[in-house]
Symmetry: C2
Subunit: 249 residues, 2 copies
Protein backbone atom coordinates (compact mmCIF):
# COMPACT_ATOMS: atom_id res chain seq x y z
CA UNK A 1 0.00 0.00 0.00
CA UNK A 2 1.07 3.55 -0.75
CA UNK A 3 0.21 6.48 1.50
CA UNK A 4 0.47 10.08 0.45
CA UNK A 5 0.15 12.88 2.95
CA UNK A 6 0.57 16.63 2.67
CA UNK A 7 2.85 18.75 4.80
CA UNK A 8 0.70 21.80 5.38
CA UNK A 9 1.48 25.09 7.08
CA UNK A 10 4.93 25.69 5.64
CA UNK A 11 5.48 29.42 6.13
CA UNK A 12 6.23 31.88 3.35
CA UNK A 13 9.57 30.92 1.84
CA UNK A 14 12.16 33.61 1.11
CA UNK A 15 15.59 33.60 -0.46
CA UNK A 16 18.15 31.73 1.60
CA UNK A 17 15.63 29.56 3.48
CA UNK A 18 16.78 26.04 4.25
CA UNK A 19 13.96 23.94 2.84
CA UNK A 20 15.23 20.66 4.30
CA UNK A 21 15.15 22.17 7.76
CA UNK A 22 11.73 23.78 7.18
CA UNK A 23 10.25 20.46 6.06
CA UNK A 24 11.70 18.45 8.95
CA UNK A 25 10.57 20.95 11.59
CA UNK A 26 7.09 21.28 10.11
CA UNK A 27 6.74 17.49 10.06
CA UNK A 28 7.89 17.27 13.67
CA UNK A 29 5.34 19.95 14.65
CA UNK A 30 2.55 17.71 13.34
CA UNK A 31 3.85 14.65 15.15
CA UNK A 32 5.16 13.02 11.98
CA UNK A 33 8.59 11.98 10.83
CA UNK A 34 10.39 10.93 7.70
CA UNK A 35 10.79 7.16 7.56
CA UNK A 36 13.00 4.87 5.55
CA UNK A 37 11.32 4.34 2.18
CA UNK A 38 9.60 7.73 2.10
CA UNK A 39 9.84 9.94 -0.98
CA UNK A 40 9.64 13.71 -0.50
CA UNK A 41 7.84 15.63 -3.25
CA UNK A 42 8.28 19.40 -3.35
CA UNK A 43 6.57 21.97 -5.57
CA UNK A 44 9.03 23.98 -7.64
CA UNK A 45 7.69 27.33 -6.47
CA UNK A 46 9.13 27.20 -2.96
CA UNK A 47 12.44 25.85 -4.27
CA UNK A 48 12.71 28.76 -6.69
CA UNK A 49 11.87 31.23 -3.93
CA UNK A 50 14.44 29.75 -1.53
CA UNK A 51 17.03 29.98 -4.31
CA UNK A 52 16.10 33.55 -5.18
CA UNK A 53 15.02 32.56 -8.71
CA UNK A 54 12.74 35.59 -8.92
CA UNK A 55 12.80 38.38 -11.46
CA UNK A 56 11.18 41.77 -10.98
CA UNK A 57 9.51 42.57 -14.27
CA UNK A 58 9.74 46.34 -13.89
CA UNK A 59 13.51 45.99 -13.98
CA UNK A 60 13.54 43.88 -17.16
CA UNK A 61 14.40 45.57 -20.47
CA UNK A 62 12.81 43.63 -23.30
CA UNK A 63 14.97 43.10 -26.37
CA UNK A 64 13.70 43.98 -29.82
CA UNK A 65 13.12 40.28 -30.46
CA UNK A 66 11.12 39.92 -27.22
CA UNK A 67 8.99 42.92 -28.15
CA UNK A 68 8.27 41.39 -31.54
CA UNK A 69 7.36 38.03 -29.98
CA UNK A 70 5.20 39.79 -27.39
CA UNK A 71 3.07 41.26 -30.18
CA UNK A 72 2.66 37.84 -31.75
CA UNK A 73 2.00 36.05 -28.45
CA UNK A 74 -0.14 38.76 -26.80
CA UNK A 75 2.04 38.88 -23.67
CA UNK A 76 3.84 41.56 -21.67
CA UNK A 77 7.17 42.18 -23.54
CA UNK A 78 9.13 42.04 -20.28
CA UNK A 79 7.58 38.68 -19.46
CA UNK A 80 8.48 37.46 -22.96
CA UNK A 81 12.05 38.68 -22.43
CA UNK A 82 12.31 36.56 -19.25
CA UNK A 83 10.71 33.55 -20.98
CA UNK A 84 13.19 33.78 -23.86
CA UNK A 85 16.16 34.09 -21.49
CA UNK A 86 15.03 30.84 -19.81
CA UNK A 87 14.52 29.01 -23.09
CA UNK A 88 16.74 27.00 -25.40
CA UNK A 89 14.24 27.30 -28.22
CA UNK A 90 10.66 28.20 -29.11
CA UNK A 91 8.75 25.01 -29.91
CA UNK A 92 5.35 26.52 -30.82
CA UNK A 93 3.88 30.00 -30.79
CA UNK A 94 0.20 30.38 -31.61
CA UNK A 95 -3.06 31.82 -30.29
CA UNK A 96 -1.31 33.61 -27.42
CA UNK A 97 0.57 30.47 -26.32
CA UNK A 98 4.34 30.30 -26.16
CA UNK A 99 5.61 26.72 -25.82
CA UNK A 100 9.36 26.57 -25.30
CA UNK A 101 12.07 24.10 -24.54
CA UNK A 102 13.83 25.20 -21.36
CA UNK A 103 17.57 25.03 -20.90
CA UNK A 104 16.96 21.81 -18.90
CA UNK A 105 15.19 20.29 -21.93
CA UNK A 106 11.63 20.49 -20.56
CA UNK A 107 8.95 21.43 -23.08
CA UNK A 108 6.33 23.61 -21.41
CA UNK A 109 4.45 26.89 -21.64
CA UNK A 110 6.46 30.08 -20.99
CA UNK A 111 9.67 28.24 -20.00
CA UNK A 112 8.02 27.56 -16.63
CA UNK A 113 8.10 31.30 -15.79
CA UNK A 114 5.22 31.92 -13.42
CA UNK A 115 3.51 35.13 -12.30
CA UNK A 116 1.29 33.66 -9.58
CA UNK A 117 2.01 33.19 -5.89
CA UNK A 118 5.06 35.48 -5.74
CA UNK A 119 4.02 38.21 -3.34
CA UNK A 120 1.45 40.89 -2.60
CA UNK A 121 0.83 43.25 -5.52
CA UNK A 122 4.27 42.49 -6.92
CA UNK A 123 5.30 42.27 -10.51
CA UNK A 124 7.65 39.42 -9.73
CA UNK A 125 7.95 36.23 -11.74
CA UNK A 126 9.48 32.97 -10.55
CA UNK A 127 11.82 31.01 -12.78
CA UNK A 128 12.39 27.27 -12.59
CA UNK A 129 15.44 26.34 -10.49
CA UNK A 130 18.59 26.61 -12.62
CA UNK A 131 19.56 23.02 -11.78
CA UNK A 132 16.58 21.22 -10.22
CA UNK A 133 18.50 17.93 -9.74
CA UNK A 134 21.06 19.83 -7.70
CA UNK A 135 18.28 21.58 -5.75
CA UNK A 136 16.81 18.15 -4.96
CA UNK A 137 20.22 16.80 -3.94
CA UNK A 138 20.81 19.73 -1.59
CA UNK A 139 17.46 19.30 0.15
CA UNK A 140 17.92 15.53 0.35
CA UNK A 141 21.33 15.87 1.91
CA UNK A 142 20.05 18.41 4.46
CA UNK A 143 17.19 16.10 5.45
CA UNK A 144 19.56 13.12 5.77
CA UNK A 145 21.79 15.23 8.01
CA UNK A 146 18.88 16.25 10.25
CA UNK A 147 16.99 12.95 10.43
CA UNK A 148 19.46 10.20 9.54
CA UNK A 149 17.02 9.05 6.86
CA UNK A 150 18.18 9.21 3.25
CA UNK A 151 14.91 9.80 1.38
CA UNK A 152 14.70 10.59 -2.34
CA UNK A 153 13.53 14.09 -3.25
CA UNK A 154 11.45 14.97 -6.32
CA UNK A 155 10.89 18.58 -7.35
CA UNK A 156 7.77 19.11 -9.45
CA UNK A 157 5.94 21.57 -11.62
CA UNK A 158 2.56 21.44 -13.32
CA UNK A 159 2.63 21.56 -17.12
CA UNK A 160 0.06 21.20 -19.86
CA UNK A 161 0.22 18.34 -22.33
CA UNK A 162 -0.14 17.80 -26.06
CA UNK A 163 -3.42 16.07 -27.00
CA UNK A 164 -4.98 16.25 -23.53
CA UNK A 165 -6.69 18.99 -21.55
CA UNK A 166 -5.76 19.93 -18.00
CA UNK A 167 -2.38 20.18 -16.36
CA UNK A 168 -0.66 17.42 -14.40
CA UNK A 169 2.32 17.51 -12.10
CA UNK A 170 5.71 16.45 -13.55
CA UNK A 171 9.10 15.67 -12.02
CA UNK A 172 11.64 18.36 -12.95
CA UNK A 173 14.37 17.55 -10.42
CA UNK A 174 15.26 14.22 -8.80
CA UNK A 175 17.77 13.00 -6.26
CA UNK A 176 18.10 9.53 -4.76
CA UNK A 177 16.03 7.35 -7.08
CA UNK A 178 15.62 6.19 -10.67
CA UNK A 179 13.17 8.35 -12.63
CA UNK A 180 12.21 5.48 -14.92
CA UNK A 181 11.35 1.94 -13.99
CA UNK A 182 12.56 -0.47 -16.62
CA UNK A 183 10.57 -3.65 -17.18
CA UNK A 184 12.63 -4.74 -20.19
CA UNK A 185 13.31 -8.43 -20.08
CA UNK A 186 10.57 -9.10 -17.53
CA UNK A 187 7.69 -11.20 -18.76
CA UNK A 188 3.99 -10.72 -18.38
CA UNK A 189 1.77 -13.35 -16.84
CA UNK A 190 1.61 -15.24 -20.15
CA UNK A 191 5.41 -15.23 -20.54
CA UNK A 192 5.37 -12.75 -23.39
CA UNK A 193 8.19 -10.28 -23.06
CA UNK A 194 6.53 -7.04 -22.01
CA UNK A 195 6.11 -4.47 -24.75
CA UNK A 196 5.55 -1.38 -22.64
CA UNK A 197 8.76 -1.57 -20.78
CA UNK A 198 9.62 1.74 -19.29
CA UNK A 199 7.38 3.54 -16.84
CA UNK A 200 8.12 7.16 -15.89
CA UNK A 201 7.51 6.50 -12.21
CA UNK A 202 8.94 9.86 -11.07
CA UNK A 203 6.24 11.60 -13.12
CA UNK A 204 3.61 9.25 -11.70
CA UNK A 205 4.85 10.03 -8.18
CA UNK A 206 4.67 13.76 -8.97
CA UNK A 207 1.08 13.35 -10.17
CA UNK A 208 0.17 11.26 -7.14
CA UNK A 209 1.59 13.87 -4.76
CA UNK A 210 -0.30 16.68 -6.49
CA UNK A 211 -3.55 15.06 -5.38
CA UNK A 212 -2.80 16.20 -1.82
CA UNK A 213 -0.88 19.37 -2.72
CA UNK A 214 -3.86 21.24 -4.15
CA UNK A 215 -2.65 24.32 -5.99
CA UNK A 216 -4.82 26.80 -4.15
CA UNK A 217 -3.78 25.83 -0.64
CA UNK A 218 -0.49 26.30 1.16
CA UNK A 219 0.70 22.72 0.59
CA UNK A 220 3.96 22.74 -1.33
CA UNK A 221 5.28 19.44 0.08
CA UNK A 222 3.97 15.89 0.23
CA UNK A 223 5.38 12.59 1.44
CA UNK A 224 4.83 9.38 -0.53
CA UNK A 225 5.22 6.35 1.73
CA UNK A 226 5.44 2.74 0.58
CA UNK A 227 6.56 2.99 -3.04
CA UNK A 228 9.42 0.53 -3.73
CA UNK A 229 11.63 2.93 -5.67
CA UNK A 230 14.99 1.97 -7.17
CA UNK A 231 17.83 3.72 -5.40
CA UNK A 232 20.14 5.76 -7.67
CA UNK A 233 21.91 9.08 -7.86
CA UNK A 234 18.85 10.25 -9.77
CA UNK A 235 18.18 12.87 -12.42
CA UNK A 236 15.14 14.27 -14.18
CA UNK A 237 17.23 14.27 -17.37
CA UNK A 238 16.23 10.59 -17.64
CA UNK A 239 12.72 11.85 -18.44
CA UNK A 240 13.70 14.23 -21.22
CA UNK A 241 13.04 12.70 -24.65
CA UNK A 242 15.94 13.63 -26.92
CA UNK A 243 14.75 15.68 -29.89
CA UNK A 244 16.07 13.04 -32.35
CA UNK A 245 13.55 10.51 -31.06
CA UNK A 246 10.72 12.97 -30.48
CA UNK A 247 8.09 12.91 -33.21
CA UNK A 248 6.50 16.08 -31.85
CA UNK A 249 9.23 18.69 -31.83
Amino acid sequence: MIEIFPIAGIPDVVKGDNLGKLIVSKLAATGKEIRKGDIIVIAQKIVSKAEGRIVTLSRVKPSKFASEISRLSEKDPRQVEVILRESAKIVRMKDGHLITETKHGFVCANSGVDMSNVGKGSDNATLLPADPDKSAATIRSEITKLTGVDAPVIITDTFGRAWRLGHVNFAIGISGMKAIRDYRGTRDMYRHVLRVTEMAVADELASAAELVMNKADRVPVAIVRGYPYRRALGTAKELVRPEEIDLFR
Copy 2:
Protein backbone atom coordinates in the same frame (compact mmCIF):
# COMPACT_ATOMS: atom_id res chain seq x y z
CA MET B 1 -4.16 11.60 3.43
CA ILE B 2 -4.60 9.42 0.40
CA GLU B 3 -4.14 5.65 0.46
CA ILE B 4 -3.68 3.52 -2.62
CA PHE B 5 -3.83 -0.22 -2.43
CA PRO B 6 -3.75 -2.93 -5.08
CA ILE B 7 -6.32 -5.67 -5.52
CA ALA B 8 -4.12 -8.62 -6.33
CA GLY B 9 -5.02 -12.15 -7.36
CA ILE B 10 -7.82 -11.37 -9.78
CA PRO B 11 -8.10 -14.53 -11.88
CA ASP B 12 -7.73 -14.64 -15.63
CA VAL B 13 -10.54 -12.61 -17.15
CA VAL B 14 -12.50 -13.98 -20.09
CA LYS B 15 -15.30 -12.66 -22.26
CA GLY B 16 -18.53 -12.20 -20.35
CA ASP B 17 -16.94 -11.93 -16.91
CA ASN B 18 -18.63 -9.54 -14.52
CA LEU B 19 -15.75 -7.32 -13.41
CA GLY B 20 -17.70 -5.51 -10.71
CA LYS B 21 -18.51 -8.85 -9.10
CA LEU B 22 -14.93 -10.11 -9.49
CA ILE B 23 -13.54 -6.99 -7.81
CA VAL B 24 -15.99 -7.05 -4.92
CA SER B 25 -15.42 -10.74 -4.21
CA LYS B 26 -11.64 -10.44 -4.45
CA LEU B 27 -11.72 -7.50 -2.03
CA ALA B 28 -13.89 -9.45 0.39
CA ALA B 29 -11.49 -12.40 0.18
CA THR B 30 -8.68 -10.16 1.44
CA GLY B 31 -10.79 -8.75 4.27
CA LYS B 32 -11.25 -5.38 2.58
CA GLU B 33 -14.28 -3.50 1.38
CA ILE B 34 -15.17 -0.55 -0.80
CA ARG B 35 -15.91 2.49 1.32
CA LYS B 36 -17.65 5.76 0.63
CA GLY B 37 -15.10 8.07 -1.01
CA ASP B 38 -13.08 5.31 -2.66
CA ILE B 39 -12.18 5.51 -6.33
CA ILE B 40 -11.73 2.26 -8.26
CA VAL B 41 -9.01 2.27 -10.92
CA ILE B 42 -9.00 -0.57 -13.45
CA ALA B 43 -6.44 -1.37 -16.15
CA GLN B 44 -7.95 -1.40 -19.64
CA LYS B 45 -6.68 -4.89 -20.44
CA ILE B 46 -9.10 -6.79 -18.21
CA VAL B 47 -11.99 -4.58 -19.32
CA SER B 48 -11.22 -5.33 -22.97
CA LYS B 49 -10.97 -9.05 -22.22
CA ALA B 50 -14.29 -9.10 -20.33
CA GLU B 51 -15.90 -7.30 -23.26
CA GLY B 52 -14.37 -9.63 -25.83
CA ARG B 53 -12.44 -6.81 -27.47
CA ILE B 54 -9.88 -9.28 -28.82
CA VAL B 55 -8.89 -9.88 -32.41
CA THR B 56 -7.13 -13.00 -33.69
CA LEU B 57 -4.48 -11.75 -36.09
CA SER B 58 -4.41 -14.90 -38.20
CA ARG B 59 -8.02 -14.17 -39.14
CA VAL B 60 -7.33 -10.57 -40.19
CA LYS B 61 -7.00 -9.75 -43.89
CA PRO B 62 -4.85 -6.65 -44.29
CA SER B 63 -6.07 -4.11 -46.83
CA LYS B 64 -3.76 -2.79 -49.51
CA PHE B 65 -3.38 0.42 -47.52
CA ALA B 66 -2.49 -1.49 -44.34
CA SER B 67 0.12 -3.50 -46.26
CA GLU B 68 1.65 -0.28 -47.57
CA ILE B 69 1.70 1.28 -44.08
CA SER B 70 3.18 -1.93 -42.65
CA ARG B 71 6.17 -1.59 -44.98
CA LEU B 72 6.68 2.02 -43.87
CA SER B 73 6.17 1.29 -40.17
CA GLU B 74 7.98 -2.08 -40.03
CA LYS B 75 4.99 -3.85 -38.48
CA ASP B 76 2.96 -6.98 -39.20
CA PRO B 77 0.43 -5.95 -41.91
CA ARG B 78 -2.40 -7.66 -40.02
CA GLN B 79 -1.53 -5.72 -36.90
CA VAL B 80 -1.50 -2.51 -38.96
CA GLU B 81 -4.91 -3.41 -40.36
CA VAL B 82 -6.29 -3.69 -36.82
CA ILE B 83 -4.60 -0.45 -35.75
CA LEU B 84 -6.08 1.41 -38.72
CA ARG B 85 -9.57 0.02 -38.06
CA GLU B 86 -9.32 1.39 -34.51
CA SER B 87 -8.06 4.80 -35.60
CA ALA B 88 -9.71 8.01 -36.71
CA LYS B 89 -6.46 9.27 -38.22
CA ILE B 90 -2.71 8.74 -38.37
CA VAL B 91 -0.99 11.52 -36.41
CA ARG B 92 2.66 10.54 -37.01
CA MET B 93 4.42 7.65 -38.70
CA LYS B 94 8.20 7.48 -38.43
CA ASP B 95 11.04 5.19 -37.39
CA GLY B 96 8.73 2.20 -36.92
CA HIS B 97 6.28 4.16 -34.75
CA LEU B 98 2.65 4.61 -35.64
CA ILE B 99 0.96 7.30 -33.56
CA THR B 100 -2.76 7.51 -34.19
CA GLU B 101 -5.83 9.25 -32.92
CA THR B 102 -8.31 6.61 -31.78
CA LYS B 103 -12.02 6.86 -32.46
CA HIS B 104 -12.38 8.06 -28.85
CA GLY B 105 -9.96 10.94 -29.57
CA PHE B 106 -6.96 9.56 -27.65
CA VAL B 107 -3.57 10.10 -29.29
CA CYS B 108 -1.35 7.09 -28.64
CA ALA B 109 0.85 4.48 -30.29
CA ASN B 110 -0.92 1.81 -32.38
CA SER B 111 -4.45 2.98 -31.44
CA GLY B 112 -3.92 1.25 -28.10
CA VAL B 113 -3.89 -2.18 -29.79
CA ASP B 114 -1.78 -4.44 -27.61
CA MET B 115 -0.18 -7.82 -28.30
CA SER B 116 0.99 -8.59 -24.75
CA ASN B 117 -0.83 -10.44 -21.97
CA VAL B 118 -3.52 -11.99 -24.17
CA GLY B 119 -2.95 -15.71 -23.83
CA LYS B 120 -0.44 -18.51 -24.16
CA GLY B 121 1.23 -18.64 -27.57
CA SER B 122 -1.70 -16.80 -29.11
CA ASP B 123 -1.66 -14.29 -31.90
CA ASN B 124 -4.41 -12.29 -30.28
CA ALA B 125 -4.43 -8.55 -29.87
CA THR B 126 -6.57 -6.57 -27.43
CA LEU B 127 -8.34 -3.44 -28.53
CA LEU B 128 -9.33 -0.57 -26.26
CA PRO B 129 -12.94 -0.82 -25.05
CA ALA B 130 -15.28 0.64 -27.69
CA ASP B 131 -16.83 3.02 -25.15
CA PRO B 132 -14.64 3.15 -22.02
CA ASP B 133 -16.95 5.61 -20.22
CA LYS B 134 -19.78 3.14 -20.67
CA SER B 135 -17.54 0.29 -19.49
CA ALA B 136 -16.75 2.31 -16.36
CA ALA B 137 -20.43 3.11 -15.80
CA THR B 138 -21.38 -0.57 -16.08
CA ILE B 139 -18.77 -1.67 -13.54
CA ARG B 140 -19.66 1.20 -11.21
CA SER B 141 -23.32 0.33 -11.29
CA GLU B 142 -22.58 -3.36 -10.62
CA ILE B 143 -20.40 -2.46 -7.63
CA THR B 144 -23.07 -0.10 -6.27
CA LYS B 145 -25.64 -2.88 -6.59
CA LEU B 146 -23.43 -5.37 -4.74
CA THR B 147 -22.03 -3.12 -1.99
CA GLY B 148 -24.40 -0.17 -1.68
CA VAL B 149 -21.41 2.13 -2.20
CA ASP B 150 -21.42 4.35 -5.27
CA ALA B 151 -17.69 4.69 -6.02
CA PRO B 152 -16.31 6.38 -9.16
CA VAL B 153 -14.57 4.08 -11.64
CA ILE B 154 -11.59 5.07 -13.81
CA ILE B 155 -10.38 2.81 -16.63
CA THR B 156 -6.74 3.38 -17.57
CA ASP B 157 -4.10 2.60 -20.13
CA THR B 158 -0.40 3.41 -20.28
CA PHE B 159 0.68 5.66 -23.15
CA GLY B 160 3.90 7.35 -24.16
CA ARG B 161 4.17 11.12 -24.24
CA ALA B 162 5.56 13.80 -26.53
CA TRP B 163 8.75 15.39 -25.15
CA ARG B 164 9.24 12.94 -22.29
CA LEU B 165 10.54 9.40 -22.02
CA GLY B 166 8.74 6.58 -20.27
CA HIS B 167 5.06 5.73 -20.26
CA VAL B 168 2.56 6.85 -17.63
CA ASN B 169 -0.95 5.70 -16.89
CA PHE B 170 -3.84 7.76 -18.29
CA ALA B 171 -7.60 7.79 -17.71
CA ILE B 172 -9.46 6.53 -20.80
CA GLY B 173 -12.88 5.91 -19.25
CA ILE B 174 -14.55 7.57 -16.28
CA SER B 175 -17.82 7.22 -14.41
CA GLY B 176 -18.94 9.02 -11.26
CA MET B 177 -16.52 11.94 -11.00
CA LYS B 178 -15.21 15.03 -12.77
CA ALA B 179 -12.06 14.29 -14.83
CA ILE B 180 -10.77 17.85 -14.44
CA ARG B 181 -10.60 19.94 -11.31
CA ASP B 182 -11.23 23.55 -12.11
CA TYR B 183 -9.50 26.18 -9.99
CA ARG B 184 -10.68 29.07 -12.14
CA GLY B 185 -11.75 31.98 -9.98
CA THR B 186 -9.96 30.66 -6.90
CA ARG B 187 -7.09 32.76 -5.66
CA ASP B 188 -3.63 31.77 -4.58
CA MET B 189 -2.27 32.64 -1.17
CA TYR B 190 -1.33 36.14 -2.38
CA ARG B 191 -4.81 36.73 -3.80
CA HIS B 192 -3.69 36.55 -7.40
CA VAL B 193 -6.19 34.71 -9.50
CA LEU B 194 -4.58 31.36 -10.22
CA ARG B 195 -3.10 31.00 -13.68
CA VAL B 196 -2.87 27.23 -13.85
CA THR B 197 -6.51 26.60 -13.37
CA GLU B 198 -7.41 23.17 -14.56
CA MET B 199 -5.82 20.02 -13.21
CA ALA B 200 -6.42 16.70 -14.98
CA VAL B 201 -7.01 14.88 -11.70
CA ALA B 202 -8.34 11.71 -13.38
CA ASP B 203 -4.99 11.33 -15.15
CA GLU B 204 -3.17 12.00 -11.87
CA LEU B 205 -5.30 9.36 -10.16
CA ALA B 206 -4.49 6.92 -12.99
CA SER B 207 -0.77 7.60 -12.53
CA ALA B 208 -1.03 7.27 -8.77
CA ALA B 209 -2.81 3.91 -9.09
CA GLU B 210 -0.20 2.58 -11.52
CA LEU B 211 2.38 2.83 -8.75
CA VAL B 212 0.72 -0.17 -7.07
CA MET B 213 -0.50 -1.88 -10.24
CA ASN B 214 2.93 -2.78 -11.59
CA LYS B 215 2.66 -3.93 -15.18
CA ALA B 216 4.44 -7.23 -14.70
CA ASP B 217 2.31 -8.51 -11.83
CA ARG B 218 -1.27 -9.64 -11.80
CA VAL B 219 -2.62 -6.37 -10.38
CA PRO B 220 -5.14 -4.87 -12.77
CA VAL B 221 -7.15 -3.02 -10.09
CA ALA B 222 -6.33 -0.48 -7.40
CA ILE B 223 -8.37 1.49 -4.89
CA VAL B 224 -7.62 5.15 -4.19
CA ARG B 225 -8.96 6.16 -0.81
CA GLY B 226 -9.22 9.70 0.54
CA TYR B 227 -9.19 11.86 -2.57
CA PRO B 228 -11.95 14.50 -2.40
CA TYR B 229 -13.23 14.07 -5.93
CA ARG B 230 -16.07 16.08 -7.43
CA ARG B 231 -19.12 13.93 -8.08
CA ALA B 232 -20.41 14.00 -11.67
CA LEU B 233 -21.70 11.72 -14.40
CA GLY B 234 -18.10 11.65 -15.61
CA THR B 235 -16.41 11.17 -18.96
CA ALA B 236 -12.85 10.85 -20.20
CA LYS B 237 -13.88 13.04 -23.14
CA GLU B 238 -13.24 15.97 -20.78
CA LEU B 239 -9.55 15.11 -21.09
CA VAL B 240 -9.40 15.06 -24.88
CA ARG B 241 -7.91 18.30 -26.25
CA PRO B 242 -9.91 19.28 -29.32
CA GLU B 243 -7.68 19.40 -32.40
CA GLU B 244 -8.48 23.12 -32.95
CA ILE B 245 -6.72 24.03 -29.70
CA ASP B 246 -3.96 21.45 -29.95
CA LEU B 247 -0.65 22.89 -31.13
CA PHE B 248 0.80 19.40 -31.62
CA ARG B 249 -1.53 17.65 -34.03
